[in-house]
Structure formats: C-alpha cells, structure tokens
C-alpha cells in the first residue's frame, strides 16, 4: 500500500469532511439553540446552490463573489422568513410535529425547484475556482481546498461571535437555559430570529461553495443533510467544534473505508462509528 494513496485518501476525507462540517454548521446552531431538527436543511442547501448557479448563469457573478454579496444576505432573509412563517409556530410542539412541518417545507422547496428548473442536473463551468494542484502524486481540488479554507474561516468567525460578542453570549445563554436567559432579560424571540437567520445563511454559504464543483439538482440536499444530522449528534448539539470534529471524522472514515475496504460499505462505517459513540457517550463527543 503506497503512502501517497493513503495520504490522498486522508486528504480527500478531510476535504469532504469540511463540506459536511459547513453544511452541518448552520443546522447545529438552529438545532442546538431551538431544539428543532430542521429536516428542510438539505433543501435550503439546494436552494443556496440554485441561487449561486443562476446568479452565475444569468448575471455572470462568480460564486466566489456572489457568496458574501448576495447569497448569504438573501439566505439570511430567507431564514428570518422561515422562522416567522414556520418555526415560530412549532417551537413548543412535540418533536413529531416539528418533523412533520420542517419535512413539509423540504418537500415544498424540492417541488418548487423541480417546477422552475426541471429535474435536470446542472453544473457550473468556467468559474474562478476550478482545477487542481498536485505535488508528490497527491492531488487537491482547488475549489475543495478553498472550501476548506472558507469553512475554517466561517467556523472561527462563528466561534468568535458565539464566545466573544454580547449577542453571541446571549445565544449561548439561550442554548443552555431558555428560562434563565429570559429572566436576565434576553429577548428569546429575537435570539431565535437571529439564530435561524445565521443558520440558513451558513447553509447558503455551504451551497454557494459546493456549487463551485458539485452538480445542482432538486433532490441534491438529502445526500448531504443526512450526514449533517449524524455529524451534529456525533459532535454534540450546538457545538461548533463538534460540527468540525464530526465532519472530519465522518469524511476520513468514509474515505478510508471506501479506499481500502469496499466503497459499498463506506457509509456503514460512519453509522457504526456514530452508533458506538452515542451509545458510549450519549451527548456526543463535544457534548456538555
């Protein structure tokens, strides 16, 4: 087994791991703070991807630019809307009702995408981020690499925001204990608006980055979202570090099993790891 292959496998694992992490990032924030699993998360990802795609196709703005300028702000707005119209009403409902509602939103988003853009696979060509660079027989896709970098930046930013800024601390206080937070005069309502906004804009960012090298398709969301859920529970609800750790573990495990055991079983490995972890440590690796 030559070393380059192993390194390559690990690097692949890491780069896909970062993608999973950044997809999970927004989800873990919402889930951790509001205790709602957003089963439409993958479809917001899909919307982010379509947005990026069409911005590029119609008004020729490269994903790299549209990301901060358009996609994230827009998805922030979408997040606020999402909270106002849907989440607000199911906050105190049973888990099952929340699943029903968010899942419904997901289906609707998918059908909308299917209606307007047909179930065709679309990929961006000629964007800034493309190609690969190689050294000692190891290749790294440039878009993947940039994605990883931006992913790290986003996480650091979020981490700083949550731990150093007043609002961020308010969010964390809410995460830890709603009642107490409310008592010390934090407006939970606004916190929730903010959290969902940030969460969705993060998934928008993820979609934007993915569009650089991944195809866009109405049902594209699930293949990422499913693992986002696993990652979050693996890393611990609401934990940024957890999302990162979970993502990387997942990426590396899949990549190694795929490369050296059998691709057919790469996801089993993840789920097994996941089950073992939660059974031994129910609150997840980074959990409180």
């Amino acid at each position: 087994m030559n070393l380059a292959v192993i390194f390559q496998a690990i690097i692949n694992g890491i780069s896909i791991g970062f993608v999973y992490s950044i997809v999970a990032l927004g989800l873990t924030l919402i889930w951790g703070t509001m205790r709602i699993i957003n089963f439409a998360h993958g479809d917001f990802l899909m919307m982010g991807m379509y947005a990026t795609f069409w911005i590029f196709m119609l008004i020729k703005i490269d994903p790299l630019l549209s990301c901060l300028l358009i996609v994230m702000p827009v998805s922030f707005g979408a997040g606020l809307l999402y909270y106002r119209v849907i989440l607000k009403h199911i906050l105190k409902r049973e888990v099952i009702t929340q699943i029903l509602a968010t899942f419904g939103v997901g289906i609707i988003l998918q059908s909308i995408a299917m209606f307007f853009w047909k179930p065709d696979y679309r990929i961006i060509r000629g964007n800034i981020l493309s190609g690969t660079f190689r050294f000692v027989g190891i290749s790294i896709g440039i878009p993947q690499f940039v994605t990883s970098i931006i992913c790290i930046i986003a996480m650091l930013a979020l981490f700083y925001f949550l731990n150093r800024t007043k609002t961020g601390l308010a969010i964390r206080a809410t995460t830890l204990n709603k009642e107490a937070a409310a008592l010390v005069g934090i407006n939970i309502e606004n916190i929730y608006y903010l959290v969902v906004g940030i969460g969705i804009s993060l998934v928008g960012l993820a979609g934007n980055l993915l569009t650089n090298y991944y195809y866009v398709f109405p049902n594209v969301g699930m293949s990422f979202a499913l693992f986002a859920y696993v990652i979050i529970v693996l890393g611990g609800l609401g934990s940024v570090k957890g999302a990162l750790a979970g993502g990387l573990i997942l990426g590396i495990v899949t990549s190694l099993t795929g490369a050296f055991l059998n691709p057919a079983f790469k996801y089993i490995a993840v789920f097994l790891v996941y089950l073992m972890v939660v059974v031994i440590k129910p609150e997840g690796l980074g959990g409180r």
């Binding site: 029903l100 419904g104 289906i107 059908s111 499913l226 089993i268 129910p282």
Partner: protein, 346 residues
C-alpha cells in the same frame, strides 16, 4: 366538564365508527375498481405501519425515524423463507415478526439510553446500516432484489395474482386485529406506562416503572406488526429490493402518516393513511404526468398546513368539546403564538 354532552358525543362516535367499519367491509362489493382497491390496500398496509410506529413513538415517545428496517426485515424474512426454504408465507410472516422483534430488542438495549432527537438519528443510522447490508448481501440477491413466484390464487400461500379482494381482506383483517390490540394496550397498564415514560422518565421510574424494559416492550410490538405489514407488502408486489423496503422514504412516510393523522391516538395513523395515501396517488394521477413536481408540492403543502394548524393531527377534528377544550389551553393553540408570551417559556 359537561359529562352528558361528553357521553352522547362518545356514543355518536361509536356509531359513526361502526358505520365506517361496515362500509369498509362491504366496500369491495360496491366498488370493484381494482386501482381504488389497490389504494385501499396501500392505505391498510401503511395504516398498520403508522400504527405500529405510533406505539413506540407516539405512546412511548421514543421517536424512531428508521421504522422501515422492521418493515423490510419482515418482508425479506418471509420472502427468503418462501423462496429458498419453501416455508409458507403465513408461517414466514410470524417468523419474520419474531425476527424483527429480536432485532428490535437487540437495537433497543443500547440506543434506548438516548433521548429524543438523539434516538431519532440513531434509528436512522441503524436502518441505513441494515439497508446497506441487504444491498450488498449476495444471499438475498443484493440490489437485484427478490422476485416471488407468480402462482394461481391461494389463500394458503398468501398469493392473489388475480383480483384484489384477497389482499384487501387480509390487510384489513390484520389492520382491525392490530387496532384492537392497540385499543387493549391503551386501556391497560402498558398504555399508561408508555404514556408516563413519554412524559417524564425520572418520575416514571420513581413510581416503579422500569423504563428500559417497557421501551423494549414497545419496540417489540412496533417491530412485530411492522414486519407483518412487510410480509403482506412483499406478497402483494411479489418483488422487493432494499431500496424499496428499507429506504428513508418509507421510514419518513410512516412518520408523516402518523403525525399527520395524530400521534398517540388509536385512529390517528389510520386517518393519516386514509388521507395521505389517496392524496399522494391522486396528486400523481392528475399532476404527475406533467413531470414538474406539482404532485409533490400539493403533498408538502398539505402536511405543512396540518403540522401548523392542527398540531395534534387531523384526528383532533374528531375530539369531543372537552378534549378540545384541553387542547385549546395549550400555549400557542393552533400555532397562533403571540410574540409577547413567546419570551417567557412556561
């Protein structure tokens, strides 16, 4: 509490229920349209699945998003026994059920330490593992799936190639039997214990409930009936492959059906199946041909509306005034939460 009112509401309900059952039983003699009977059979099968899910997740509150695994295990168990060992599907059905129960307990022992969403995701993981195993298992023909023999109608072998009445009545019988079982459960110790566990595990233990043990009981019932539905499904379609019976789509559909109809109620899942399955079929029938996803759209809108405006499920339309009165006292009834009260959680 106006008891008199409550009483005649009850009797009225009983009467309506009675009527409906009669109607359903004589239904095939009135309407012989096979496609409609097919929809009915699907309704029955999914009603059983939803109801089974409802035991574990609705009553005992242990939300499972991987129930397709029991369904699939049942389908595969009986099919394998029938194909490779020539064991009658009826027996296979029971064996499959017991097999699913065994698996359920095996799974439950470790994962029932997890709470709420953690458990939900764990069940997804488990079902995905099972699916992958079956996808790559040569013995059960992997992804090519198992095709059951086409043979003349025989009740003995649970095969009704021609005509729908066979499966109509088999699935209906199972559904009625299962509903009866659920009814008994809700009226006895089990039901009360499940609900207490759902509410609060510490206080449940403090009043002498061995929560783990009763969760295992719950998952056993769930697994058993899901598996039975699986067998009927396999015998009905005469072909199963892993993507057909183990996929997340099935798991979620099961959840949607019960949640839509109303969890922790006897008739919720049935109602959910009665509405969702036909609606889904009709949507596909009228808009499906266009291939623009309008069929999915209508489906999504429907469940969204119910989730927000009827959080207790469609069945809550049938609650007597008293029960509704209680429901109406919930904070943010019918989703119309007013922002001010939002801030301080009760």
């Amino acid at each position: 509490m106006h008891f008199s009112n409550f009483q005649n509401n009850k009797t009225m309900k009983k009467f309506i229920l009675f009527l409906i059952v009669i109607l359903i039983i004589i239904f095939p003699t009135i309407i012989t349209q096979p496609y409609i009977l097919h929809i009915m059979i699907m309704v029955f099968i999914y009603a059983i699945l939803g109801g089974a899910w409802n035991i574990l997740s609705g009553y005992a509150g242990q939300v499972s998003l991987g129930n397709a695994m029991f369904f699939g295990l049942g389908a595969y168990a009986s099919s394998v026994l029938w194909l490779f060992y020539n064991i009658n599907p009826w027996i296979g059905m029971i064996i499959g059920g017991l097999f699913a129960v065994a698996f359920g307990i095996f799974l439950g022992m470790p994962v029932f330490r997890l709470r709420r969403q953690y458990l939900a995701i764990a069940t997804i993981a488990a079902s995905q593992i099972i699916m992958t195993i079956f996808l790559n298992w040569e013995y059960v023909k992997g992804a090519s799936g198992l095709a059951l023999p086409l043979m003349p109608n025989s009740l003995k072998h649970m095969t009704f190639l021609y005509g729908k009445n066979g499966f109509y009545f088999i699935s209906l019988a199972i559904l009625i039997f299962f509903t009866f079982v659920v009814f008994v459960i809700t009226k006895t110790k089990l039901g009360y214990y499940f609900r207490t566990i759902k509410e609060e595990e510490d206080s449940a233990r403090s009043i002498g409930i061995n929560t783990t043990q009763y969760k295992l009981v719950a998952i056993s019932i769930t697994a058993f009936f899901s598996a039975i539905a699986g067998t009927v499904y396999a015998q009905y379609f005469l072909y199963i492959d892993p993507n057909m019976v183990f996929s997340l789509r099935v798991s979620f559909l099961i959840v949607l059906i019960s949640a839509f109809g109303g969890t922790a109620t006897i008739f919720g899942p049935i109602l959910g199946a009665c509405v969702l399955i036909p609606i889904n079929e009709m949507a596909r029938m009228f808009f499906g041909g266009a291939g623009r996803g309008i069929d999915l759209f209508s489906f999504g809108i429907l469940i969204l509306v119910v989730a927000i405006y009827r959080p207790a499920g469609l069945v809550s339309l049938f609650y007597g005034k008293e029960k509704l009165a209680i429901r109406e006292n919930l904070p943010g009834k019918d989703g119309k939460v007013d922002g001010e009260n939002e801030n301080i959680e009760s």
